[in-house]
């Protein structure tokens, strides 16, 4: 039912969507030409693959994993070891195929570990993935021969045969390698959702008991999907190893798994394209936001908390809801409301962020004195006027936001009612 609603109203041809995705991947480095943006674009491609693979578990299978970094990380480690073998001349393998080695090694690891993990579903599943994630992470410190200890294992991607003069030395060349992998993996994972196994996975998520009655083994469905998810995670790990030319034990850590979870959720697990949004946000947050402010983890946590509470479908579901309104031709009425909501929430954010920044400044940069520059303004972290000012801004923002929100809700529910009756009317016709 809901699936039909999703695809029916706005039926853009699927070829158009995929073609534009390819064009974006192709043109992005030509539009953003700085070396920082090339690095970020490469990381985004890697993140897109890993978040999509994570969503096979979370969104499509209802399996909340806290240990997905095990598979991307192990893929990365095996890829970098393979790269070093290639560099030593022991293995005649083109560099461009090394991510596939990462994928298959993650697949093998998932065949073993996934068998234990997928014995359970729901909450016990989450706890077991956490336990196995910890297991692998502690092992990474125990076997410095394989994991390289604190320093990690480094490699050199400029090696092996050089077809058409492609050495993978410049960032732009590795970007296009990543882009090709991103496109193929995204297409493959989308195709997976259309296979019988992908459909059964959705069924297992929604009602495992009924699946069992129909004659399928839900454990087997989970196990196979888990292995497939690990394969794609391994490819992304291998790409990351090529991109950074190093793999440290951090890539298998629980923090990394947590980041995958957080951003896949923020992007929206209910839709196939949700994790892509999440992956782009992840790189933006890790590279730009962490440069911008020391409090970025706090902001991230707050955003996550609010999203779970008020929009559990993530950004993708917000987009989809508005597309639905647009399909019924009512989106135009909401523009003014959205504008007011945006302005008021920016005001709230301004005040709150001012106070958060002052607190962090007091704690971390006390030696620099109480003055700090915040968005071009000079704030005094020890003066009352700055605090009162920020608090006032936030209060004004909160009150006006609440007023705007009430008005918006009224309009929104009227439109939803209209859509519901409209659907009934069309069905009756």
């Amino acid at each position: 039912m809901s699936l039909h609603q999703k695809s029916q109203p706005h039926k853009v041809s699927r070829t158009v969507v995929w073609a534009s995705f390819a064009v974006i991947l192709l043109l992005a480095p030509l539009l953003f030409t700085s070396s920082l943006s090339h690095t970020m674009l490469s990381q985004m491609g890697i993140a897109i693959i890993v978040c999509l693979s994570y969503n096979i578990l979370l969104g499509q299978g209802g399996m909340l994993s806290f240990g997905h970094a095990v598979y991307s990380g192990m893929g990365g480690f095996l890829a970098i070891h393979t790269l070093n073998l290639v560099s030593d001349g022991k293995l005649p393998l083109p560099v461009s195929l090394i991510p596939i080695v990462g994928g298959f090694s993650a697949l093998l690891i998932a065949v073993v570990l996934g068998w234990v993990t997928t014995k359970k579903s729901a909450t016990p599943f989450a706890m077991i993935t956490l336990g196995i994630g910890e297991l692998v992470w502690s092992m990474s410190l125990m076997f410095p021969e394989f994991f390289g200890g604190e320093g990690g294992i480094s490699g050199d991607r400029v090696t092996g045969s050089k077809p058409f003069g492609i050495t993978f030395g410049p960032q732009i060349q590795i970007y296009y390698l990543i882009a090709i992998y991103t496109f193929i993996c995204t297409a493959a994972m989308f195709a997976f959702t259309r296979t019988p196994l992908g459909r059964m996975l959705n069924a297992v998520r929604d009602n495992a008991e009924r699946v069992e009655f129909v004659g399928f083994d839900p454990r087997r469905v989970r196990y196979l999907s888990f292995i497939i998810a690990a394969f794609f995670a391994g490819i992304s790990g291998g790409l990351a190893a090529l991109n950074f030319e190093i793999a440290t034990s951090e890539v298998v850590s629980g923090a990394r798994s947590g980041a995958y979870l957080l951003f896949t959720f923020l992007g929206g697990g209910a839709f196939f394209f949700g994790p892509i949004i999440g992956a782009v946000l992840m790189v933006l947050a890790f590279v730009l936001l962490s440069e911008l402010t020391k409090a970025w983890l706090l902001y991230l946590g707050l955003v996550f908390l609010f999203m779970v509470m008020f929009a559990p479908g993530g950004i993708a579901s917000l987009i989809a809801m508005n597309l639905r309104v647009a399909a019924f031709g009512r989106l135009r009425e909401l523009w003014a409301n959205y504008l007011v909501l945006a302005v008021t929430s920016v005001i709230v954010l301004l005040g709150a962020a001012g106070m958060i920044e002052m607190t962090y400044h007091l704690k971390l940069n006390e030696a620099l004195g109480p003055k700090l520059v915040y968005l071009g303004m000079s704030l005094d972290a020890k003066g009352t006027s700055s605090w009162v000012g920020c608090a006032l801004v936030m209060l004004v923002g909160l009150v006006s936001f609440e007023l705007a929100r009430r008005r918006f809700i009224k309009k929104w529910s009227a439109i939803q009612e209209f859509i519901a009756t409209e659907i009934q009317r069309r069905e009756a016709m």
């Binding site: 014995k119 359970k120 336990g131 196995i132 092992m139 983890l297 706090l298």
Partner: protein, 315 residues
Amino acid sequence: MEFFTISLLNGVSYGLLLFMLSSGLTLIFSMMGVLNFAHASFYMLGAYFAYSTTQLVGYWPALFLAPLLVAVLGASFEKFCLRRVHKFGHVPELLITFGLSFLIVEMVQLVWGTSSVDYRVPAELSGPLFTIFGTQFPTYRGFMMLVALSMLLSIWLLLTRTRIGLIIQAALTHPDMAQALGHNVPRVFMLVFGGGAALAGLAGVIGGNAFVTEPGMAATVGSVIFVVVVVGGMGSLSGAFVASLLIGIIQTFAVGVDSSLMSVASTLGLQITPQTFGFALWKLKISQIAPILPYLFLVLILIFRPKGLLGTREG
């Protein structure tokens, strides 16, 4: 013998501390179906609150005040955040506690700094309790065991011998029926969540100064108590007790054992050299693999007894 006794005593006291944490987690889980990811964060908050209140009013009032503060925080989190998410299902519930654990670590670093704080054992409890085989057993370890055991006893009495315990048990198995009989089940949930958080807070008060009070402490015990809950059997309080003691003792013993597979092999007459296949594995000392033992144990339990030691349901 000396090593055995001391390790056993230390293991039991560590195991009891783990039980203080896992009991709250299990209670919350079996009641609300929520795996509280932030449980270990409440433990950390307990330790930090105790550190600050000890400086203000001394250790003994802090022993009561800090868990109380944590309980208030936990209950209000349940009331204002968790309850709102309840209708979306279990995964968002788990996610929101995950987000909370994230925020708490960040807040703790903001308020108390990123390095460890100097939270000490009070003077009247420092020093040895008794001497056994020439090794002193610290009084504070004994105190920890005493607190944990009395807490265990009072939970048991509360759950089985009082009216509120009866309602909690009823709400545990038949929430709709309990509600129909006029009990405020959401409030019971809030109390259980706050109570579980208070237990974690209390564990933090007595564990924070026995070990280290630092922002990483939540992550250190966090995954271990999840292992305890799975190994003991989801939602089984007695299972959690057995598993806590088992894991506490195993881990304490392993830390003290200095032998490796290589030394075992050499007593059997086998020669292991760096050229032997898998030398990295042979030379590992048991004390080195101590941190991963709980997780290995988890995997073994899942293979051979998927419902846990004393669990009844297989999920």
